[in-house]
């Protein structure tokens, strides 16, 4: 059993996705219990895998016993196993939140909702686990199609936004697939490790450059990197809160992971990968400032958080492009930090909207009194996003800045500083309204916080932000540094 753990992590949510809609018609509770069990299993198994690969080194699993490069293999190293833990943990947290959100309004839909949710998780875990470029495409589309269906359930506006996302997302996936086709035509292999060996013999050619560019552009669209972020704000604004909480937290990060995997591991040392990283770095630097600037001018809180994500993805790609060990540790830590933080922020913002009907920044007056614990979680996550100690966000930005100083990337340093200032402004606008501004009409308002099922996940995520900050040193030495490609570390 434990020998097949890498495939079970992906298969168990997939099988549960088949069972859940059948159960959901008769008993929504049983369906959700199966969902939580499957996600809990995925989290436990990912944790075991992470500890196994941190101590024992890379774990290559041959699917159905077919030897690579002909068969598909799953490659578990500290990077992919760490991402699996992140994905399955946030999936579990937001799934608990989803139950409270849905059971009140529409229990009949829980079976279908959970099924799509499990498919989305399956796709994301598969992207992370696989060591095969075409298999990555299949999982990319499994997660994307499940996400389209889930995101569109937020109402009519969500449907329009999702249709646009579907078109752009499919263009992105087609770009990726075409790029894989170029590399396959050059080398005759789809296995990532095999490709690394064979590409070295091919030599420079326009076809190689085109293949790498198409792959990077496709994944950058999926990661909502500026200037490819056009689909993202509308989708995050109108989607139902439990879905936004998960999708905004993990989906773009998994695409960023795929870029990191392809550029640093599969194509490590290729000149084309180096050029791609320079492009991503500049796009990232522009995103850091532009995202924060756009977030500042938003009146809807969800849209503000969406533009803030554009900026945060910029940090991650800026770190990737610097390429030094310290900058890469910073970027990977920022992946972790931003996933937890943005999950928490969207869960609270969605919960506030669900409880009070407020989604505008101006409407947050007195929220600190009405939903004290939720706003506490929101505040901790926001502080981490701005980057104040002792939260995780301080350390991830700190390592990014150290890497930028080392590389003397002064424009990037300036962008990070400006963006930090802007993000402080857009979050303190909310803090001021929620905690400071007194409203006579609200002074008698009773505390009416979210139900435990929605409050709990938000508080746990906020606690993790603090824990990541406190235990950043062991985390970096034991996991993040081992997640770097050998050539770098």
């Amino acid at each position: 059993m434990s020998a097949h753990l890498p495939v079970l992590v992906v298969m168990v949510p997939l099988l549960a996705a088949v069972v859940v809609p059948l159960l959901g018609r008769r008993s929504p509770g049983a369906a959700h219990a199966v969902t939580l069990t499957a996600l809990g299993f995925a989290l436990a198994a990912s944790g075991l895998l992470l500890s196994a690969v941190v101590t024992g080194g890379v774990w290559r699993y041959e699917l159905a016993g077919w030897a690579p490069p002909w068969g598909i293999e799953y490659v578990l190293d500290p990077l992919s196993a760490g991402m699996m833990v992140l994905v399955s943990f946030l999936a579990l947290a937001t799934s608990i939140y989803a139950w409270s959100y849905l059971s009140a309004s529409d229990p009949q839909r829980i079976g279908i909702f959970d099924s799509l949710y499990l498919l989305l998780v399956t796709g994301l875990l598969g992207i992370v686990a696989t060591g095969d470029l075409f298999n990555l495409y299949v999982f990319l589309e499994i997660s994307a199609i499940a996400a389209y269906a889930l995101l569109s359930t937020g109402g009519e506006r969500a449907t329009v936004a999702t249709f646009r996302y579907l078109l752009i997302g499919t263009v992105a996936a087609s770009c990726y697939l075409l790029g894989v086709g170029f590399l396959y035509a050059l080398t005759g292999t789809l296995n990532m490790a095999d490709l690394t060996a064979r590409l070295a013999d091919v030599g420079e050619s326009p076809a190689k450059a085109a293949g790498v560019s198409l792959i990077v552009i496709g994944l950058a669209i999926k990661a909502a990197l500026f200037p490819f972020h056009g689909w993202q704000p509308d989708v995050y604004t109108y989607a139902p809160p439990p879905v936004t909480g998960f999708v905004a937290a993990v989906m773009t990060k998994v695409s960023a992971y795929a870029i990191f995997r392809v550029l640093y591991f599969t194509l490590g040392g290729e000149p084309a990968a180096g050029s791609a990283l320079v492009f991503l770095g500049w796009a990232g630097v522009i995103a850091i400032v532009a995202g924060s600037w756009l977030a500042l001018s938003q009146t809807d809180i969800r849209r503000m958080l969406a533009y803030s994500s554009v900026s945060q993805m910029g940090y991650i790609f800026f770190g990737f492009s610097l390429g030094s060990p310290i900058a890469l540790v910073g970027a990977l830590f920022h992946v972790l930090n931003h996933a937890v933080v943005k999950g928490c922020l969207f869960l609270v913002a969605g919960g506030v909207g669900w409880r009070t009907g407020v989604s505008s920044v101006a409407g947050f007056v007195g929220m600190g009194r009405r939903l004290p614990l939720s706003m506490l979680a929101f505040a901790v996550a926001a502080v981490s996003l701005v980057g104040l100690p002792p939260t995780a966000g301080f350390f991830s930005k700190w390592y990014l800045l150290l890497g930028a100083f080392e590389a003397e990337a002064w424009i990037g340093v300036g962008a990070v500083v400006v963006s930090t200032g802007l993000s402080a402004v857009y979050f303190f606008r909310i803090f001021e309204r929620a905690f400071v501004v007194a409203d006579d009409r609200l002074s008698s308002a009773q505390s009416n916080d979210l139900p435990v099922g929605m409050l709990g996940p938000a508080l746990v995520l906020a606690a993790i932000v603090l824990l990541l900050g406190l235990f950043q040193q062991p985390l970096i030495t034991h996991v993040l540094q081992r997640a770097l490609p050998v050539a770098v570390s």
């Binding site: 589309e141 199609i145 009519e156 999702t162 579907l166 263009v171 075409l178």
Partner: protein, 128 residues
């Protein structure tokens, strides 16, 4: 067998022009068309372009289907068509069908709510 110097993959270049034209038609349609259903059809054309590209990779003049008919004969790679791109594209077609299905479901809901699939009219209604 044609000239071996052309390499295993080489059959001609027309298929690459076809891929490029289909890609451009698809991208243009997605960007420029007003009607959402036409945008969706353009998206399908874009996907077909990628499928044509892959299938063209496996084409080989003078080669046959990759089935070993008689045992004991020496197997010459050059005399068989590469089956892998076909298998990959079968999966890509399934992906394309699923995406189209979800997209059509979304379009039905948009049409029911807003009574139109024209982008200009839809944007006008969304601004209200």
């Amino acid at each position: 067998m044609t000239d071996d110097m052309e390499g295993l993959w080489s059959v001609g270049t027309a298929q690459y022009f076809l891929t490029t034209v289909l890609l451009m038609v698809g991208l243009y349609g997605i960007v420029a068309r007003q009607h959402l259903l036409r945008k969706l059809m353009a998206m399908n054309i874009l996907q077909v372009a990628v499928i044509v590209f892959f299938i063209a990779l496996s084409a080989k003049s003078g080669a046959t289907v990759p089935v070993v008919i008689e045992d004991g004969l020496e197997i010459n790679v050059a005399s068989y068509v590469n089956p892998l791109p076909h298998a990959l594209m079968l999966t890509a077609i399934v992906v394309s069908v699923s995406t189209t299905g979800v997209a059509l479901a979304l379009l039905i809901r948009i049409r029911r709510r807003y009574g139109t699939l024209s982008e200009t009219m839809l944007l006008a209604k969304l601004r209200e």
